[in-house]
Amino acid sequence: MKTNEVLISGKHLTKVFGYGKHKTTAVDDVSFEFHKGEIISIVGESGSGKTTLAKMIMGLLKESSGSISYMGKPRQLKRHADRKKYWKHIQAIFQDPFSSFNQFYKVEKLLLDCIRLQGLKLSKEEQLQKMKEACSFVNLKYEELHNKYPFELSGGQMQRLMIARIFMLHPQLLIADEPTSMVDACSRSTILDMLLKLRDENGMTIIFITHDVGLAYYVSDTLYIMERGKVVESGPAEDVIIHPQHPYTRQLISDVPKVHEAWDLS
């Protein structure tokens, strides 16, 4: 489903936290090009700067140097209206579903906000119709949920509700930060199936941020391997996993427990 049209690209992105002696460069001179309908995985260990990079793409953190352009134009996020427009195109799913929701809003309000963000003028029935449709896409029952608060839901339900939001908003770019690290293996397949279905229907670009090399290999077209803020290897998933070039990539792959090969614990 990958096309040749570039959706978002970054040039020499750098993010520095702190100053003086305590200066840490979280993201160091990273350049990338993500295409429409492509699935990209950014893989790296804890503290390798992958979440920082994702936050810069989302516009939650300001880059120290470098530039990001979206749909061929430099990204503008100065005014609130600009940001709101940008976030119509870019949405995220976070690792911890328990802290992703505003705990004072009921599920109904949460879904209505999605319609408002899109700026749609719909009648009550149409709104209801849309929310029901989104819930059934992720196997949730709107009738049971709409009057509940997020803390009344289970972790799996929250994560699926998050996907229901994505279904309503149809963003161009979805950033999934460790979306499956808190769920068991079978729910993981369900969540991945839903996300891949969304990509196939809408031509959405998905960026997976993960340390699960197996997952990254399974879902993505392109892989970026990050180590201490730098991208050390990138390319089509098949090439990177089966024929890794960089020593760090090799080490990362050998650290994953596999089923058909011995796991070197020495």
Partner: protein, 258 residues
């Protein structure tokens, strides 16, 4: 053997059975230095030791786990995720318990730290600090390399038990079969492979359905599955909770794979 609550706490917990809690990141009280946790344990279980002796014991144990003595003087927020995990393991095993229960000790860690933690647990077993290990997890490829036996639970019941080898490559119960089908590993040929997803959600345990608890999500469910109580059956050296004979199930799976 019946024990009172107080006896259980002072004689069994910590000495005989110890526990590594889930989410070690949040398991340590943020207002205490690490050494205080150990002093607290020792005050209860080895009151004869002086503070200095406790300190020496702790330093020695921490060093075998590649943690410096400086860690003992630190507060939990000064440590990284992997260090906290190792610290929790060190505190849990300081009394050399016979049984160690590890509840998802690696779920929140990246693959490199995960490997280090597994190495550490194996090392503790080899050195004889712990004698047996109960590993609770949802990461199946990991289990295959760590454990001898695997027990699969579904909706509050044990549905299958066998050796790691048997469970991964030759599952009998339909739920285990689906679970093993959802393993993702970075190995050649993985991308073409279709992942098994189980439709629906687990039953609400407040109102458990009659018969097999997995029946609603099972592709092979028959009307007999929804009646009475399904008992655990023994087949050769394994046990599983299904009314269909193991050989019939295997035949069905063989057809499914075609």
């Amino acid at each position: 053997m019946t024990l009172g609550k107080e006896q259980l706490r002072s004689r069994v917990s910590g000495r005989e059975i110890s526990y590594i809690p889930q989410a070690a990141m949040n398991a340590l009280n943020p207002t205490l230095r690490i050494i205080r946790f150990i002093e607290d344990i020792m005050k209860e279980h080895r009151p004869e030791l002086s503070r200095k002796q406790v300190w020496e014991l702790a330093v020695e144990r921490f060093e075998t786990l590649n943690l410096s003595a400086r860690v003992l003087e630190s507060y939990p927020n000064e440590l990284s995720g992997g260090m906290k995990q190792r610290t929790v393991i060190a505190i849990s095993t300081i009394l050399n318990p016979k049984v160690l229960i590890a509840d998802e000790p690696t779920s929140a860690l990246d693959v490199t730290s995960q490997k280090a933690v597994i190495k550490l647990l194996k090392h503790l077993l080899e050195k004889g600090y712990i004698q047996s290990l109960v590993f609770i997890t949802h990461e199946l490829p990991l289990l295959y390399h760590v454990t001898d036996d695997i027990m699969v639970m579904y909706a509050g019941e044990i549905v299958e038990r066998g050796t790691a080898e048997q469970m991964i490559f030759d599952p009998i119960h339909p739920y285990t079969k689906k679970l093993m089908g959802s393993i993702i590993v970075p190995e050649e040929g993985m991308r073409g492979h279709k992942l098994a997803a189980i439709p629906g959600t687990p039953p609400n345990l407040k109102t458990v359905p009659e018969g097999c608890r997995f029946a609603d999500r099972c592709t092979y469910a028959q009307s007999e599955c929804r009646q009475g109580r399904i008992e655990l059956q023994t087949f050769q050296d394994r046990s599983y909770r299904c009314i269909v004979p193991a050989d019939t199930l295997r035949e069905w799976y063989a057809h499914e794979d075609e």
